[in-house]
Amino acid sequence: MIELFQRAIFEENLALSFFLGMCTYLAVSKRLDTALGVGVALILVQSISVPLNHLLHAHLLSAGALTWLGLPDVDLGFMRLLTFIGIVAGLVQVIEMLLDRYMPGLYRSLGIYLPLLAINCAIIGGSLFMVERQYDLAESAVYGVGTGIGWALAIVTLAAIRERLRYADIPKGLEGLGMAFIVTGLISMAFSAFVGVRVI
């Protein structure tokens, strides 16, 4: 379980090894405080949506899951993507309303990227990986929290580096996104060092 958690954060980091959720990752990493906000929002969405989607998948959608209703032959697998997106979109909507009410500053600075979390591929990717790798409920919960933390760590790190790059002298053509891509590559190279390292 600890190994799964560690792998989800470092060596299988959704942003740095699968390059999922890149649009938000690159766009919201200009400032550390907004990056932290979107990172926390993603941890929240991910830790709720992966286990919730697991429950839906195991008890409603997968082949034979409806046996408890007396319908052993029904396979609602084709509804999977639709359901997952619905769950994620609903969660993001709730978080958006909560932020608007309680943290209006952060809400405004996240702007369009908060509703865009609904179609963030890191989030939907986490749920799809959960199905593909056949995690059970506890593993899904750990995986959800782990991938959320990993993605948040990646964006916060990039944001801190980009803030420091204000003191750098970057060639015209590489300013902004170009440098973000280069730095992302370097971060991703560093994270690859965790392959094979086990804390416990």
């Binding site: 801190a160 420091r164 003191y167 370097l186 190279m189 560093a190 060092a193 094979g196 390292v197 804390v199």
Partner: protein
């Protein structure tokens, strides 16, 4: 053709790199004695590639450069195996110096040590060549570097203290091989030149301590899964990546503390 002389006129005064270079003299002598003249060939080639890129950037962008390229060339030349194919070294040092330093605006503005980027590139891309091995440097070879870098303030003591504290903690938990790491000259070389590099490490005092703690922790953990050299290279890469975040954390804590004190 790029006129060489006007570009060389942009050389920064050399005194900044002197402690680092003098500290490398004994490890160089030791490897020269153990391996023969191949080392000089490698360092010369690496230096030529580095200076080539620096001159190019100096001409086009008006950057200054100093002797830091020589430090980088010696560090990489020392740590790669004697039989490494030269084209791989040329490729890796070009990546290291351009992506690791020059695109950021040159020495002092980079976020990572170019030698660390170069070695990580080699270990990562050419896994079969054994770049993770590194020479057997004895502890005594690093004593001058320790005295010079610590004495000149280029290696901050907080980083060293943090790293040693982390390793001690790990060994108390029964993880890693503390005597093996501490007794190896390679580890001290990595600690003094890579982790405690004044440009690539954290810049606030609490950040430096945290940087050292992180480096020690990662080096200890990575060493359980691989060789000492790849452990220190990737630990330094990782710690350098996190250094700006550690600094921001230290600054935020300071701001909060002051605003609480002064209302």
């Amino acid at each position: 053709m790029i006129p060489l002389l006007p570009a060389l006129a942009r050389l920064a005064p050399p005194h900044g790199q002197l402690p680092a270079l003098l500290g490398l003299a004994l490890p160089m002598a030791f490897v020269l004695f153990a391996e023969g003249g191949g080392l000089l060939l490698r360092v010369g080639l690496l230096l030529a590639v580095i200076v080539g890129w620096q001159v190019l950037f100096a001409r086009i962008r008006g950057q200054h450069f100093g002797l830091e390229g020589m430090t980088a060339a010696i560090l990489v030349g020392l740590l790669v195996p004697p039989a490494s194919p030269l084209y791989q070294l040329v490729l890796a040092i070009s990546f290291g110096i351009v992506i690791g330093q020059l695109v950021f605006g040159g020495h002092g503005r980079n976020i990572l040590h170019p030698s660390v980027v170069t070695l990580a590139f080699l270990i990562f891309s050419f896994a079969a060549e054994g770049y993770g091995q590194g020479p057997d440097l004895p502890l005594f070879a690093l004593v001058p570097a320790f005295v010079l870098l610590l004495g000149s303030g280029q290696a901050n003591w907080r980083i060293l203290a943090g790293a040693l504290f982390s390793l001690l903690g790990l060994s108390l938990l029964g993880i890693g091989d503390l005597p093996g790491l501490m007794g190896s000259g390679l580890f001290w070389l990595g600690l003094l030149y890579f982790a405690a590099d004044p440009v690539a490490s954290a810049a606030t005092n609490p950040g430096r301590l945290a940087h050292g703690l992180l480096f020690g922790l990662l080096a200890g953990l990575f060493a359980t899964a691989g060789s000492i050299l790849s452990a220190i290279v990737f630990a330094a890469l990782m710690a350098g990546i996190f250094a700006p975040l550690l600094d921001q954390g230290a600054i935020t804590v300071n701001i909060l503390r002051r605003s609480r004190r002064h209302g």
